[in-house]
């Protein structure tokens, strides 16, 4: 790809180092909780925290090595270009809002999975795909309806539902 010519949002070196730090913190957290549980080799084999303790320790050690490796990396290769990052965020943010809409989080109302999916597909096709309205609507309504039949009617798996389904007496 031509990413090398575009503006870089962040370098591989940077992300690599940050990832190593995060993994180190995870390792430390694991060590801390394992120590609380008891991480010794008891009279009848290892205690509950024995394995997690060493897992945490190895995590920490290997992330230190990876951190040093990342710092030593001389190249300033791009991890992701600004334009790519924009593309990714233009998908990630709607996806996060979509998941928020399913169950409702903070100010976002709970719409249930079917209505949210319809909105999400519409947005995706219209905004990123630039499709015409008829096909967009067809897919956006069709897919949730198929899933509704499949999950609620056929497989009897209740998925989150919102006010629309309640209005139809389906919730």
């Amino acid at each position: 790809m031509e990413t090398s010519e575009e503006k870089s949002a962040t370098s591989v070196k940077m992300v690599d180092a940050v990832t190593a730090v995060v993994i180190f913190l995870v390792g430390a957290l694991v060590i801390w909780d394992s120590w609380r549980l008891g991480a010794k080799w008891g009279s009848d084999g290892p205690e509950a925290g024995y394995f997690p303790f060493y897992i945490g320790l190895i995590l920490c050690v290997s992330s230190v090595v990876n951190f040093v490796g990342a710092l030593r990396d001389k190249s300033d290769e791009s991890f992701v270009s600004t334009s790519s990052l924009k593309m990714i965020l233009s998908v990630m943010i709607p996806t996060i809002v979509y998941v928020g809409l399913i169950g409702g989080v903070g100010p976002i109302p709970a719409l249930g999975i079917y209505v949210s999916s319809a909105l999400f597909i519409t947005l995706f096709m219209k905004w990123l795909g630039k499709y015409k309205w008829p096909i967009t609507i067809a897919v956006a309504i069709g897919v949730p309806v198929v899933f509704f039949l499949l999950f609620e009617v056929w497989f009897k798996v209740p998925l989150p539902k919102g006010p629309l389904e309640a209005a139809f007496g389906l919730a």
Binding site: T19, E47, I55, I102, I121, V143, F155
Partner: protein, 497 residues
């Protein structure tokens, strides 16, 4: 031979048009369950239960077992097309199946996967037909030390084949182990790494991690590369099936190896998921094409699929003879048996001959039916890749969200899936390998349970892992596998000189 007579009798029971119709229905349902991540066998029962009361037990179990075959087949479809494993045992299929699809060879990958599944199952059914009592006895030999040795063998056959930086591999694997440790510790009944969060009590589910790491992660990577699946030119003709079949006989060695691994892992209740990883790992280290694995090698699809299906099939044997379901989907069949008043156990083979042999006959027929059904869908599924990305992507994201939700019926899991998706994307770009992470997540707690149960039994003596011929052999074998790659490299060097 008594078995042949019984089997022929079984065929005459199973071969009615009515039963064959039921097989088709079962297989189609099963494929659907296999394709949609998160839907399990329990849902299959929910639909079928009302239907089965009007049937005789044999017809009913034929239909239920065909769901099982269908699910085994169906798991491969989304793995190959979208890098989303529909079922845990098809994770290893993504390693080469998805690259194949990206290279425009989706049809070949699907055909190879289905055909090798069928072959694996066939080998396992043959084994069940002729050696059932013997095999059941063998399964009884497995206690905690043996289980641990089997898991160790799986790890060892898989580890040491990663091309990533060694410390990144180690970090990824340990992350998998750490995630597997979250939740209740079986041996002491203590809660580990839950930090008082009720959402963490149930631990991290393998499927959610996999949907995120592989499925969402892959979508993010695709977006970055410009919103297109590369498989747009996938052939959508039936010919692709015949063409692929012509290539498959080349991989006979891999098929035999994987069938053996699968049968072995199915009986020793390791199950289909470890079997698929082990099949892939062994093929990679043994095959002359090993170094091309991961880039879209057909052999890399054949190996895990054969092993998974062989294991899935032979796993029914311990269930029937001992009454322990090897997988959630096998539990469905168990549930079915109980409702018709058939209690699986050592006496089932003697007291319910018609039923058992009808079931075994249906294993042959059901798999043939399954193969026909899934092969006819190959062009259809391959054609999905022709749909533009901006239509397919949101639908895949919706399927992922539904899949993550249905595993435990919890929104938390859907958020978790998104987090795993971001992790998958970053790890892939930083060259952290995902396979060891996933393997550690799926086997970590089981291996630890086996180890600690063994330690309780031996009161802390490690020698228990060499205490009898069986466990000793597996342990030694595992250690050999661990050092296979360096040994092979050393050997080649010596020869090169």
């Amino acid at each position: 031979m008594e078995e042949i007579n019984s089997l022929l009798q079984g065929f005459s029971v199973a071969m009615t048009p009515y039963n064959i119709g039921l097989m088709m229905v079962g297989v189609i349902l099963g494929v659907l369950i296999g394709v949609l991540p998160g839907l399990g066998g329990a849902n299959g029962v929910a639909i079928l239960l009302p239907l089965t009361f009007s049937m005789n037990p044999t017809s009913a179990i034929i239909m239920l077992s065909c769901i099982y075959w269908g699910a085994l087949f169906g798991g491969a479809i989304t793995s190959i097309l979208f890098n989303i494993p529909g079922e845990p045992w098809s994770v290893a299929t993504t390693f080469d199946g998805y690259p194949m699809a990206q290279n425009g060879r989706a049809g070949e990958a699907l055909t190879a996967a289905f055909t090798s599944s069928f072959i694996g199952a066939l080998v396992a059914v043959l084994m069940i037909t002729f050696t059932a009592p013997l095999v059941a006895k063998f399964a009884l030999k497995f206690g905690p030390p043996e289980y641990f040795a089997v898991y160790l063998l799986t790890f060892c056959s898989f580890v040491g084949m990663s091309k990533s930086a060694p410390f990144k591999t180690v970090a990824a694997m340990m992350l998998g182990f750490a995630l597997a440790a979250v939740g209740l510790d079986t041996v002491t009944g203590q809660l580990r790494l839950t930090f008082g969060q009720t959402e963490l009590l149930k631990g991290f589910d393998f499927l959610i991690a996999v949907i995120g790491l592989f499925g969402i992660g892959e979508i993010l990577l695709t977006i970055e590369e410009g919103l297109a699946f590369k498989g747009a030119e996938a052939k959508i003709k039936m010919r692709v099936v015949i063409d692929t079949w012509k290539q498959l006989p080349k991989y006979w060695k891999t098929s035999i190896r994987s069938s053996a691994i699968g049968c072995w892992m199915g009986i020793t209740p390791g199950g289909a998921t470890p079997a698929s990883f082990m099949g892939y790992g062994v093929a990679k280290s043994m095959s002359p094409n090993g170094k091309n694995f991961g880039k879209g090698e057909m052999e890399g699809v054949v190996a895990p699929e054969t092993a998974a299906h062989a294991a899935g099939t032979s796993a029914l044997l311990p269930m029937l003879t001992l009454g322990i379901p090897g997988s959630p989907t096998a539990a469905v069949l168990l549930g079915g048996l109980l409702i018709w008043g058939l209690q699986p156990g050592p006496l089932l083979f003697q007291e319910q001959k018609d039923f058992v042999w009808g079931l075994i006959a249906s294993m042959y027929l059901g798999n043939i039916a399954g193969l026909i059904v899934v092969l006819t869908t190959v062009p259809l599924f391959a054609a999905i890749l022709r749909i533009p990305f901006s239509i397919v992507a949101p639908v895949i994201l919706v399927i992922c969200a539904i899949g993550a939700y249905t595993v435990h019926g919890s929104m938390f899991d859907v958020w978790l899936m998104i987090v795993f998706g971001v992790i998958g994307y970053i790890f892939k770009k930083l060259d952290y390998p995902l396979a060891p992470l996933v393997l550690a997540l799926v086997l970590g707690d089981r291996a630890e349970d086996g180890f600690r149960q063994s330690m309780l039994m031996s009161q802390g003596e490690l020698s228990i892992f060499f205490s009898n011929g069986l466990v000793g052999t597996i342990t030694v074998f595992a250690l050999l596998m661990l050092f296979w790659a360096p040994m092979k490299a050393g050997f080649n060097k010596l020869r090169g000189r």
